[in-house]
């Protein structure tokens, strides 16, 4: 098999086998991706920014504070959206891994590479905000609560994937290995979460509950929804921007290699 490392544009797009294959291959062309994404990226970024700021300002300054938890409860406007994005980001990563394994979709490879750091960032944000909330509410920065522990392990999985996909001299090998890891992680993640819950109930009583009385008022729900939409848009904008620059990076590297091969300076 010829080695198309570096320049994904040079890879032949095989004859589509099926309808799904044809649909997927339409979007396998990095050039088409660039033409599609470049015009909407600034708008997406702007909308994401405005939505997030509106949601956070509403949540932090205008929505009522929780009568039990006081001002600290406002951290949920960062914490909860970050947790959702972190989890669904891993789902996106797993889908990219599947596309990469089954169809060898070149865009999915780059997407998997670029979703990793963004997802890890949101996971870290979720952990840090949760820990800051825990200090006034639980009296400690960290408890081995089942949810906290699961999110911590999610962060480990992200970091492992991030490190792996960048650790190979041959990028194609890295994409394959990371896709296998992404799928294994997706199969394993529910088991890990289940085992952590099991371990948690086994070792300590339910003295602390994250859920608590979970009747949430509409005045708090609206800013939460807006924040969530903003976080998802921000996630999408960051990933698309990173994928776009990843494609350009690969292209630049391929051009440099080609020039070096011709013997030019």
């Amino acid at each position: 098999m010829p080695d198309y490392t570096g320049d994904i544009d040079a890879r032949p797009i095989g004859a589509p086998q099926s309808k799904a294959g044809a649909w997927l291959h339409r979007f396998a062309n990095p050039g088409r991706f660039q033409r599609l994404v470049q015009p909407i990226l600034p708008w997406l970024t702007m909308v994401a920014f405005v939505t997030t700021v509106v949601g956070l300002v509403w949540g932090f300054f205008y929505a009522p504070a929780d009568w039990q938890q006081g001002i600290a409860s406002r951290i949920m406007y960062v914490h909860i959206p970050a947790a959702w994005v972190a989890m669904n980001g891993y789902a996106a990563l797993a889908i990219c891994s599947l596309l990469s394994i089954v169809w060898r979709h070149p865009l999915a490879d780059i997407a998997a590479k670029e979703i990793g750091p963004v997802g890890a960032g949101f996971t870290a944000l979720c952990l840090i905000s949760g820990s800051l909330w825990g200090r006034p509410e639980w009296g400690t920065y960290w408890v081995w609560d089942a949810r906290l522990t699961s999110v911590l392990i999610l962060l480990f999985l992200y970091l492992g994937h991030m490190a792996l996909i960048r650790a190979f001299d041959n990028p194609q090998h890295g994409y394959r290995a990371a896709a296998i890891l992404g799928l294994v992680g997706a199969v394993n993640l529910p088991i890990i979460v289940f085992s952590v819950y099991w371990w948690n109930t086994l070792h300590q009583g339910n003295s602390i509950s994250v859920t608590g009385p979970s009747k949430i008022y509409v005045t708090m729900l609206y800013p939460l929804i807006i924040c969530t939409v903003g976080f998802y848009l921000a996630f999408a904008a960051m990933c698309l921007g990173r994928i776009s620059s990843g494609i350009m990076e690969n292209r630049a590297r391929a051009l440099l290699l080609a020039r070096a091969e011709r013997g030019g300076a």
């Binding site: 492992g160 792996l164 290995a177 799928l183 890990i192 085992s195």
Partner: protein, 217 residues
């Protein structure tokens, strides 16, 4: 099948010729156990309380030690390419290697774990239960570890990468294994361990085989 057995025999012969590698991970197991005694003090009450968990963690770490070389040695000298064209499916090659890892690391750990647990002041009556959890446990560690070794094969800095990949995936085995070693009637824990085994017995060789194919292509 005869080729598969030949592969396992080859692994065992290689392990025997380089017996130092297997012995080193056993020594690590014993030394790490004694470090715990030095760190938390010789009090029998404290030691016996943490002994099953400590044994599980250091068994996990000791199983991790030889994984670096599990595929890498053959990858570097071209032996892996030979194995891949030997007519065996890639997953069978991976599975044979994993069995080799268990026979040369998991089984010796299982034998030495009892005396080490008693040194950590675990009550002798608790030892059989601990060993019973370690039996499926070490197989699981070999499966998950072998899979991680295949995935990180050929990576820069694979030595540090391998634990980063393998350890999070080993958490369920650790949770159910260590819990099964201390709870009075660990039926559910054993069922979960066997369930994990039923999942990883096909999954790990398949994933490892795919990773090996990616590594030699």
């Amino acid at each position: 099948m005869s080729r598969f057995l030949a592969l396992i025999r080859r692994e065992l012969i290689l392990a025997l010729r380089h017996a130092g590698d297997s012995v080193a991970s056993l020594l690590f197991f014993i030394i790490a156990a004694s470090l715990f005694a030095f760190a938390v003090g010789p009090s029998p009450a404290v030691l016996s309380g943490i002994a099953p968990g400590v044994i599980w963690v250091i068994a996990l770490l000791a199983a991790l030690l030889p994984l670096n070389r599990l595929f890498a040695a053959d990858y570097e000298d071209g032996g892996l390419d030979q194995l891949m064209v030997s007519g065996l499916p890639a997953s069978a090659v991976a599975f044979g290697k994993i069995i080799g890892h268990w026979l040369t690391t998991g089984l010796p750990l299982l034998i030495i774990a009892g005396p080490v647990a008693i040194m950590l002041r675990l009550d002798a009556s608790g030892v059989p239960q601990l060993l019973l959890t370690l039996l499926p446990g070490t197989i699981l560690l070999s499966l998950v570890g072998g899979m991680s070794a295949a995935i990180t094969l050929g990576a820069r800095g694979g030595t540090v990468l391998l634990p980063l990949i393998a350890l999070p995936l080993m958490i369920p085995a650790l949770i159910f294994g260590a819990a099964g070693a201390v709870t009075p009637h660990p039926i559910a824990e054993f069922a979960m361990l066997l369930g994990l085994l039923a999942l990883f017995l096909p999954l790990a060789p398949l994933a490892a085989g795919a990773a090996l194919r990616a590594a030699v292509s």
